[in-house]
């Protein structure tokens, strides 16, 4: 254990703890931008600089491990002045269009600019100009707002293990790049979006759907797979406009592309919300269609099929639907035996649900004909 004194308060911490973490334990605030508690330290934004007795120049608290007897000053006029210069430099190369930025109100940079009261900028100058060009439906990359904190690069590498992006180019022109500068083409998990401290990375589908006002945050569990990640739905006027996940959850705030971005089904008009029971026998419901229609585009006319099918179903209550299923299963079992029935389950169900399903098939129906996209 190392004894370290920060701003006059002393604490004992384990070897390897950074000055920033030790300060956090003492509830001493140090401003950060590039630091993320779940990623390796970077030391790029230079905001978390502190003075340490015996070291001639200020050092970044996020990268410096404590040593025994260390004496740290986290704030004094000199340090605050340096931080202000650094912030001004960042803002001098930033669009400052907070009025229309998706991230406003939830933006670390905006927050810091507020606390440091930066309105005028001594270092105004050239700003990087990039055109947005990604064609994907999920991630909006606005490189002009990027502060090069590198969190996206690290989360992609260290958490996702994908490495779809990295630093490229030098000096003022350096930027976060895809391979060969092509369109972003990854698994679109959006972890980079989740860790971005500015509006440089946002969800495309969040655009102009609402920021902080009238937003209700609702905790729920992701329906997509058995992992059961915790989700926070951002709901405005009874519509989910964004999904995030908190860091203190079992999934540590990490999500995949489905959990984060695939929520449009909730309000989709195509969504099944009630059980449907077929009202015409199967063979009539599906008349053979000509494989190729002369003069047409060929293949099957989807819209025609949908109308035909939907007209052959009727809405029912859950009780009625379950009774109907039970009746039909029983009839089939009596007539053809239990092995005439097979059950297919889904990886999107939870473990418990899948357990119940196999139990139902084996004990209830009496067959081993069960399978599942990820196999039992």
């Amino acid at each position: 254990m190392f004894k370290v004194t920060i701003d006059g308060k002393t604490i004992e911490v384990q070897e390897g703890t950074t000055v920033l973490d030790a300060a956090k334990m003492l509830d001493i605030p140090i401003p950060t931008l590039c630091h993320h508690p779940k990623l390796t330290p970077f030391g790029g934004c230079r905001l978390c600089i502190v003075e340490i007795k015996g070291i001639p120049r200020p050092v970044t608290s996020c990268t410096t491990p404590v040593s025994d007897g260390m004496e740290v000053t986290t704030s004094n006029p000199y340090i605050e002045d340096l931080r202000k210069t650094v912030l001004e430099l960042i803002l001098s190369d930033h669009p400052n269009d907070c009025m229309v930025c998706e991230k406003a109100g939830d933006c670390t940079l905006q927050e810091l600019a507020y606390f440091y009261g930066i309105r005028e900028n001594r270092f105004e100058g050239e700003r990087r100009i990039y055109t947005k060009r990604d064609g994907n439906p999920f991630i909006e990359r606005d490189l002009e707002k990027c502060i090069m904190c590198g969190r996206c690069v690290k989360v992609c590498d260290e958490v996702e293990g994908v490495g779809a992006i990295d630093f490229g180019y030098r000096g003022f022109s350096s930027k976060i790049c895809t391979p060969f500068g092509k369109d972003l083409n990854c698994e679109f998990c959006g972890q980079c979006v989740a860790v971005c401290p500015t509006g440089a990375l946002t969800g495309k589908m969040w655009k102009q759907k609402g920021r902080q006002k009238d937003i209700k945050e609702i905790e729920t569990t992701c329906p997509y797979c058995g992992c059961g990640c915790s989700l926070t739905l951002h709901v405005r006027r009874n519509e989910v406009i964004k999904i995030t996940s908190r860091e203190d959850t079992l999934n540590e705030g990490w999500l995949c592309v489905k959990g984060r971005f695939s929520y449009s089904f909730i309000n989709s008009p195509d969504r099944l919300t009630k059980p449907l029971i077929r009202i015409a026998p199967k063979d009539q419901s599906n008349p053979p269609l000509p494989p190729f229609v002369k003069g047409g585009r060929g293949g099957i006319n989807n819209s025609l099929l949908v109308t035909r099918y939907s007209s052959l179903f009727r809405e029912a209550s859950w009780d009625e639907a379950v009774d109907y299923i039970a009746k039909r299963l029983k009839t089939l079992k009596d007539k053809y035996g239990p092995d005439a029935i097979a059950g297919l389950s889904s990886a999107r169900c939870t473990n418990e649900e899948n357990y119940l399903f196999q139990k139902f098939m084996r004990a209830g129906i009496g067959t081993n004909n069960i399978d599942h996209c990820a196999r039992y």
Partner: protein, 596 residues
């Protein structure tokens, strides 16, 4: 008919970087051709051997050719291929040296105040032949170390020598080795930093090109001292000859068994890998260099932990500069006392500088620490070209500062140069004269550091850009009141807040030029004038009426049609059309074109 016992004549030609650029290869070919042409007609009473040697230092007089006839060695300067025939005829065959082509007093003056340790062998032995190095005592250092000394002895010997890192920071080499030796770990690495990137610097390049084995031997000794069996040389890919000769030297050392396992029958084994840089200046920074070797983007990381504790692949690593390592064999061979007797109290030994800029004798020099800048510039360098007025000397490359005339008598050592706002650095020394604009010089170096910033940390990425923008507008006549103070404030903040040495030193050229040449900045900002007449946007060209003869030379030279006037009558420059190219100024024989 072949005669026996012919005397042996050696023609030694410089093929260092400067020599090659001046045509060293063509000169050798010319000598070979002339000799073989004459073989047909006459029986020569000698056999000619051609020896390619590394940098001789005096690049301004390249190609330098030695003709060694027995004990007598004569040196020719500024040799072109077409001059070979006369030297062969008159000197080699006729026995009478071509006097007017021989080196003169300047050559001796250039060398008089130098103290050559590293460069001595550099210019006399064939870098492509391991035997040449062995003949001058090469590899006796490692032999001595392996047979007589234990690693601790080696470290204390290096410590006693007072050798400090020649990469720029001047950290005591022996201490670095000692820390690394004491750091627990089975695997340790020695890295030779040959990523020399300062504009105008070619010390490391010349050493590797001229005497690659000394670097290898230095690395081996370092490896033995710290307990490492693996070395890397991280070298710029832009140095193809150095890479080629280094690789050749490594393979020759392998063939001899000097590299590999059980060197000289001992338990010690050492191997060296060559890793090429991809053209990033920042990779000269040790943590960025390590990242680059590991296959990562060359980006520095925060220290501590230092490489001696947590270096390449997370193992304890010693990173030394080429020149530092090249010093090691000589220290071991001649003893720490000998080395410590050269130099000043805190800076021992010699330092190699690349002397460039507006000095008459440009080249590679090796001087004892503590020599004054005046001696370097006026005695070795021969003064300023055209006997113009000296203005400043820029040391340490883009990380260094400009030292003005009134400080020429300070000794060249780590502390003195730091005191006046510059650094020894890796050894670039650019001499500036009255025709150099100091604002423009600062702008030039900022342009370089800004372009070479890795972009990781904010002060360096954006701060140097803003410095450059402010300097840019000052040189364009758009400077504002308060710009100097803003430059100073931003510079000191960048120095304090940047992550690595690149950002921490990048503002040095700005700060030192403001410190010593503030009036030039003020002239740019307040009077919109460039005293050195360099900044194009601040110049106006005009015709001086009393001198103009109406010859029309300026009119014809003007590319933009800004000059009007009839023959034999006064000409006029229209400032609205003038693009300030200076063509009229250059072409006027009557000095009738004025420039302000």
């Amino acid at each position: 008919m072949q005669k026996n016992n012919l005397k042996k004549v050696i023609v030694r030609v410089c093929i260092g970087t400067g020599g090659l650029a001046a045509g060293g290869k063509e000169v050798i070919d010319a000598f070979k051709k002339e000799i073989s042409d004459r073989c047909i007609d006459i029986d020569l009473d000698f056999t000619c051997h051609y020896q390619k040697v590394g940098c001789r230092g005096f690049c301004a007089r390249d190609v330098l050719v030695d003709v060694v006839d027995g004990d007598k060695s004569l040196t020719y300067q500024c040799i072109k291929p077409e001059m070979a025939a006369r030297i062969v005829d008159e000197h080699l065959i006729g026995g009478k040296p071509v006097k007017e082509w021989l080196i003169d007093d300047t050559y001796y003056a250039f060398h008089a105040k130098q103290k050559k340790i590293l460069l001595k062998d550099c210019g006399t032995i064939d870098p492509e032949d391991i035997n040449a190095y062995i003949d001058v005592g090469g590899y006796s250092g490692i032999k001595k170390v392996l047979s007589e000394m234990n690693p601790e002895d080696v470290i204390s010997e290096i410590k006693a020598s007072g050798l400090r890192g020649r990469g720029g920071a001047g950290f005591p080499t022996g201490l670095k080795w000692e820390i690394c030796r004491k750091t627990p770990g089975d695997t340790k690495y020695i890295i030779c930093n040959a990523d020399e990137g300062d504009p105008g610097a070619f010390m490391d390049r010349s050493i590797i090109e001229g005497n690659p084995h000394s670097v290898i031997e230095g690395m081996m000794i370092a490896g033995y001292a710290v307990g490492s069996d693996h070395g890397y040389v991280y070298i710029r890919a832009e140095y193809p000859f150095a890479v080629e000769r280094l690789r050749l030297a490594i393979s020759q050392a392998h063939e001899r068994g000097y590299l590999g396992k059980n060197i000289f029958g001992s338990n010690f084994g050492f191997d060296i890998k060559v890793k090429l840089g991809a053209g990033a200046f920042v990779c000269g920074e040790e943590t960025a260099l390590i990242a680059s070797i590991e296959g990562q983007r060359g980006m520095p990381r925060a220290k501590p932990p230092f490489p001696v504790h947590h270096g390449l692949w997370g193992k304890p690593t010693v990173i030394n500069n080429v020149e530092t390592l090249s010093n090691i064999p000589y220290i071991i061979r001649n003893g720490a006392q000998w080395y410590a007797s050269i130099g000043t109290e805190k800076s021992k030994g010699t330092k190699v500088f690349a002397l460039t800029g507006k000095v008459k004798n440009t080249g590679l020099i090796e001087v004892p620490m503590g020599i004054t800048l005046r001696e370097i510039i006026y005695d070795i360098g021969g003064g300023i070209i055209g006997d113009r007025e000296f203005k400043a000397v820029q040391t340490g490359g883009p990380s260094g500062g400009c030292i003005p005339a009134e400080m020429l008598d300070i000794p060249v050592d780590y502390e003195s140069l730091a005191q006046v706002g510059s650094i020894v650095g890796s050894g670039g020394m650019v001499v500036l004269d009255e025709t150099d604009c100091m604002v423009n010089i600062a702008r030039f170096f900022l342009e370089f550091t800004q372009a070479e910033s890795c972009g990781k940390c904010v002060p360096c990425r954006i701060g140097t850009k803003r410095l450059l923008e402010i300097l840019d507008r000052i040189t364009k006549g758009l400077g504002r009141e308060g710009d100097i103070e803003l430059l100073q404030k931003l510079s000191s903040d960048i120095k304090a807040a940047s992550l690595c040495g690149l950002g921490q030193t990048a503002p040095n050229p700005v700060l030192s030029t403001i410190r010593y040449f503030r009036e030039e900045y003020e002239a740019h900002i307040r009077d919109k004038k460039c005293p050195a007449k360099v900044c194009r946007d601040l110049l106006t060209y005009y015709i001086i009426e009393e001198f103009c003869k109406g010859c029309g030379a300026c009119l014809r030279a003007c590319p933009s049609g800004a000059i009007t006037g009839e023959k034999k009558k006064l000409h006029k420059i229209n400032p609205d059309i003038c693009i300030k190219c200076g063509a009229c100024f250059e072409v006027c024989k009557f000095k009738a074109v004025g420039r302000e």
